[in-house]
């Protein structure tokens, strides 16, 4: 058993390493290279220039506030929503589950723009409504600020956090809470002393993933930070590579190395904090059953709170997108604007545009194929990370984060430097491999959270009864992992459908994808078409989420019946 695990670990290190190390090695070479490409004579100049700039440290200070703020918000909201959706009898659960992950499906650029339309200090729709309602002299909110950036980034990272915390919450053994109650602890004390500590790996995973994600985020800092003159690392890097006509990506890669180092440290911290994984095992015997907490009198008020939260935070920005896709140009809502609304302005044009249609098809293929491949790989990697806590498994975990940890602006170039040396350059395969390699943590994290809660006694019992490792995986582990698998698949599929960072560098004629087409519309200032295509993207992703959820539910049912 130990030998088999060890072999599997090394095989996975080889696979994951070749996927993630190649672009990173190219970036390292680029950061030490004199030229504009990854190969050139050796120099330390890029590091010296990058790390002696005093503005770099200002950007770092802002980045720390932005990253911690948005990750805390995302994790807190995800915990709240996941608890209500998984553990209580709050009505319309399925709807809330979809709403919690909607921001995942919206291109970050569009989500940021829609919030600017809602809360800009000049004529933001929500600001105008509040000004009129309370007779205010000036706009009460300014989205072009650090607080605005934290709010929007927090919401964008919410689905990731939710999809990591929700499966753990769903597999929670309620007998632990019942025991706590039996010993006289109230609901609050039980939550604080039993529920939250047991969920610690999932909460930490969600928080750390949020930190890494917001470190690499570009859309929010660019759309909301730049107008407010609040600069973080991503916009600092953008400035570095956008100035002049021959930008030095090697210098950006040199700065990216510090982000990579920060991410690796975070992973080490995370592993240290969850080192005693046995503490968090809650599914260990036949007594396991998820149970529902009755909210009683709080049911309707809490439903209203979640409903209002969902409405203000998620439904409203999506409604803004729908509105923008129907009016001929960017207009503040008015009787005239509503009279001018038509599908013909942008929807018809987008649907008649062959590149938009091709990009819809390519994104759908990449979403389904990429997520399936990614989840398959992630199941094995998560298993090793959780169940084999050796140095080798630590190496595997760090490798899985490598390309994900780099700022998006930089990693795309690393992949280009790498793929251009291979025959897959300029094909859909390059995009598929790049996606899986970069976004592996989206698959691994929810699956790790799910694995953490499955006691190895279950596997051992299966083996004692004569089952092979594969049979054990199929009959014992996979059914218990279904919520994690569904979460991972949804995370990866929706991420791939809207992936921009790699696509914009690797996409060539015939391999256009949705986000690249959306970016083209953004560069041309065509917000109506952008919104129409964005909504199509949300519909595609929603379709994938619904199918995955239904398949997951059916699979669980069949296994349970079997």
């Amino acid at each position: 058993m130990v030998q088999a695990r060890s072999k599997l670990t090394y095989l996975l290190i080889l696979i994951v390493g070749s996927l993630t190390l190649c672009p990173v090695v190219m970036l390292v070479l680029g950061s030490f290279s004199k030229g504009l490409t990854a190969f050139g004579s050796f120099t330390l100049d890029k590091y010296v220039q990058a790390y002696t700039d005093p503005e770099f440290f200002n950007a770092i200070a802002n980045t720390i506030v932005f990253v911690l703020g948005s990750s805390t918000l995302a994790t807190g909201l995800a915990l709240f929503l996941a608890y209500l959706n998984n553990r209580t009898d709050i009505p319309f659960k399925f709807l809330f589950q979809i709403i919690s992950i909607i921001p995942m499906m919206i291109p970050h650029l569009l989500f940021s723009v829609s919030w600017a339309l809602l809360l800009n200090p000049s004529n933001g729709i929500m600001n105008l409504v509040l000004q009129q309602a309370f007779s205010l002299d000036s706009a009460p909110f300014n989205i072009y600020s650090m607080a605005g950036m934290i709010l929007v980034e927090g919401l964008l990272d919410l689905p990731v956090a939710y999809l990591i915390i929700a499966p753990a919450m769903g597999s929670f053994d309620v007998s632990l809470e019942e025991s706590s109650r039996v010993f006289g602890a109230g609901p609050w004390l039980t939550l604080r002393r039993v529920t939250l500590p047991v969920l610690r790996p999932a909460i930490l995973a969600a928080f750390i993933l949020g930190v890494v994600r917001s470190l690499a985020s570009f859309s929010v800092p660019s759309v909301l930070g730049m107008p407010g003159r609040v600069y973080v690392l991503a916009t600092y890097l953008y400035e570095m590579i956008a100035k002049g006509f021959a930008p030095d990506y090697g210098k950006a890669a040199a700065v990216g190395m510090s982000v990579l180092a920060a991410s690796v440290i975070l992973i080490i911290v995370y592993r240290a904090l969850t080192s005693e994984s046995e503490k968090y095992v809650t599914i260990s015997s036949r007594g396991f059953r998820p149970a529902v907490v009755e909210l009683k009198g709080a049911r309707i008020p809490l439903f209203l709170v979640v409903g209002l939260l969902s409405m203000v935070l998620i439904v409203l920005p999506v409604a803004v997108l729908l509105y923008t896709s129907l009016v001929p140009y960017s207009m503040v809502p008015s009787a005239r604007a509503f009279s001018l609304m038509s599908w013909k302005h942008h929807w018809t044009e987008v649907l008649e545009d062959p590149i938009s249609v091709l990009s819809l098809r390519n994104s759908l293929i990449l979403g389904v194929a990429g997520a399936t491949l990614g989840v398959l790989l992630s199941v094995f990697v998560a298993y090793i990370i959780v169940k084999v806590r050796s140095t080798a498994s630590g190496v595997l975990e760090s490798l899985s984060y490598l390309s994900f940890s780099f700022p998006g602006i930089v990693i795309g170039i690393g992949f280009m430097w790498f793929f251009v040396q291979t025959p897959v350059y300029a094909t859909l395969w390059a995009l598929l491999i790049g996606y899986v390699a970069t976004y592996m943590p989206y698959g691994i994290r929810p699956l790790s959270s799910a694995f953490v809660q499955i006691h190895s006694h279950l596997e051992e019992s299966s083996r004692v009864c004569g089952a092979s490792p594969l049979t054990t995986m199929r009959r014992i582990l996979l059914p218990l992992l279904v919520p994690g698998i569904v979460s991972a698949w949804i995370l990866m599929a929706t991420m791939f459908v809207r992936e921009l960072t790699l696509s914009v560098v690797l996409s060539r004629p015939g391999t256009e994808v949705l986000a690249v087409q959306i970016l083209r519309f953004a560069e041309d200032g065509l917000w109506g078409k952008l919104s129409a295509l964005g909504i199509m993207m949300i519909l595609v992703s929603t379709g994938l989420v619904v199918v995955a959820t239904l398949v997951g539910a059916r699979f669980r049912f069949v296994e349970a019946a079997g």
């Binding site: 030229g35 490409t37 730049m226 953008y238 002049g244 021959a246 040396q421 200032g525 065509l526």
Partner: protein, 332 residues
């Protein structure tokens, strides 16, 4: 007799040119397609027209200014450069020429273009990425529309302006330098303008693309933007301020590559691109300012405007001025 001889020579030359055209067309058709790398927006109508008129498929790869050089050089060095023709702001093509990525080609279609557009044997200029003051004509009173660039420093525009970030947007940096060299009488006057503009706290966006949306929605009233949006964003209530001074912009250039996978299709495409028909599409459908004689975008008054191509700025100069503007505009 002399006249007859000249007529014969002209006719022979025309017949020879037609034969040469036909030969090029046949060879291009045999190659099947042409790959075009460009940073210009909304050129699909020209790609479509080229394919329909010649039977040669045109493939368009759009690469942003920031990624253009890195992508082209990386692909070229790896032997995977797929472009037959490249189009970009002039400084980018100059950089590609230095790297040996461009080939000399003098297109016969450029014969009627002004002499200054024939940069050298490699690069042909065909347009200017022209920048102007664009305003919301429903929200700005006629009397308030700027008549000179200096009017943008009036306090009435405080918190009402949008523009690309002058600390890093290369085209905007070039435009501000162009104002110094072509519009303002002295550096002191120019500096006064910059400081006045900065005092009005303009909202910065990443590039020119996002500038029109806040103006059309009324979030901002005026912006340093491009008149072409009056065409591409119609019926948005946009108009341009007809200032007394010249309009400025970065020259747009085109060239064939040194190792094109489809060399004949490449030349055919450049000839087509520079033709009155293609330039007409670019002007009419995309609102671009082109240098083909007598072709103008359908924007009221543009045909009378004086549009000047800004001189090439080196990356060192762009970086230096970007840092200066960062201080003046208090970007950080």
């Amino acid at each position: 007799m002399k006249k007859t001889l000249i007529a014969c020579i002209v006719l022979l030359a025309a017949a020879h040119a037609r034969a040469a055209d036909q030969t090029l067309l046949d060879k291009a058709r045999a190659e099947g397609k042409v790959a075009f790398y460009a940073n210009i927006t909304a050129v699909e109508p020209i790609m479509k027209a080229f394919t329909e008129d010649t039977g040669v498929k045109a493939e368009y790869t759009r690469i942003s200014t920031a990624r253009f050089v890195a992508t082209a050089v990386t692909e070229f060095e790896a032997g995977k450069f797929m472009a037959d023709v490249v189009q970009a702001p002039l400084p980018i093509l100059e950089l590609l020429k230095e790297k040996g990525i461009l080939a000399p080609y003098r297109s016969p279609a450029a014969a009627g273009y002004p002499q200054w557009t024939k940069k050298d044997d490699y690069i042909q200029l065909f347009g200017i990425e022209y920048i102007a003051l664009i305003y919301n004509k429903e929200l700005v009173k006629k009397a308030d529309v700027p008549k000179r660039y200096e009017d943008l420093t009036h306090p009435r525009w405080r918190d009402k302006i949008v523009m690309p970030n002058p600390a890093n947007h290369a085209t905007t940096i070039g435009w501000l330098i162009g104002l110094k060299e072509h519009v303002f009488k002295s550096e002191a006057e120019w500096m006064k303008f910059l400081k006045g503009l900065a005092a009005n706290r303009p909202m910065f966006v990443a590039s020119l693309g996002p500038t029109p949306a806040p103006i059309e929605s009324g979030e901002k009233l005026i912006g340093i933007s491009m008149p072409k949006y009056i065409v591409t964003k119609a019926p948005a209530p946009l108009d341009w301020a007809r200032v007394a001074q010249p309009m400025l912009g970065t020259p747009r250039a085109i060239a064939v590559t040194s190792k094109p996978p489809h060399p004949n299709a490449a030349r055919l495409f450049v000839d087509y691109w520079l033709s009155q028909k293609a330039m007409g599409i670019l002007a009419k459908d995309v609102g671009e300012y082109v240098l083909a004689p007598g072709v103008f975008p359908p924007i009221d008054g543009i045909d009378k405007a004086k549009v000047i191509a800004i001189r090439e700025l080196s990356d060192e100069e762009t970086n230096k001025w970007g840092s200066e503007f960062k201080k003046i505009f208090n970007v950080r």
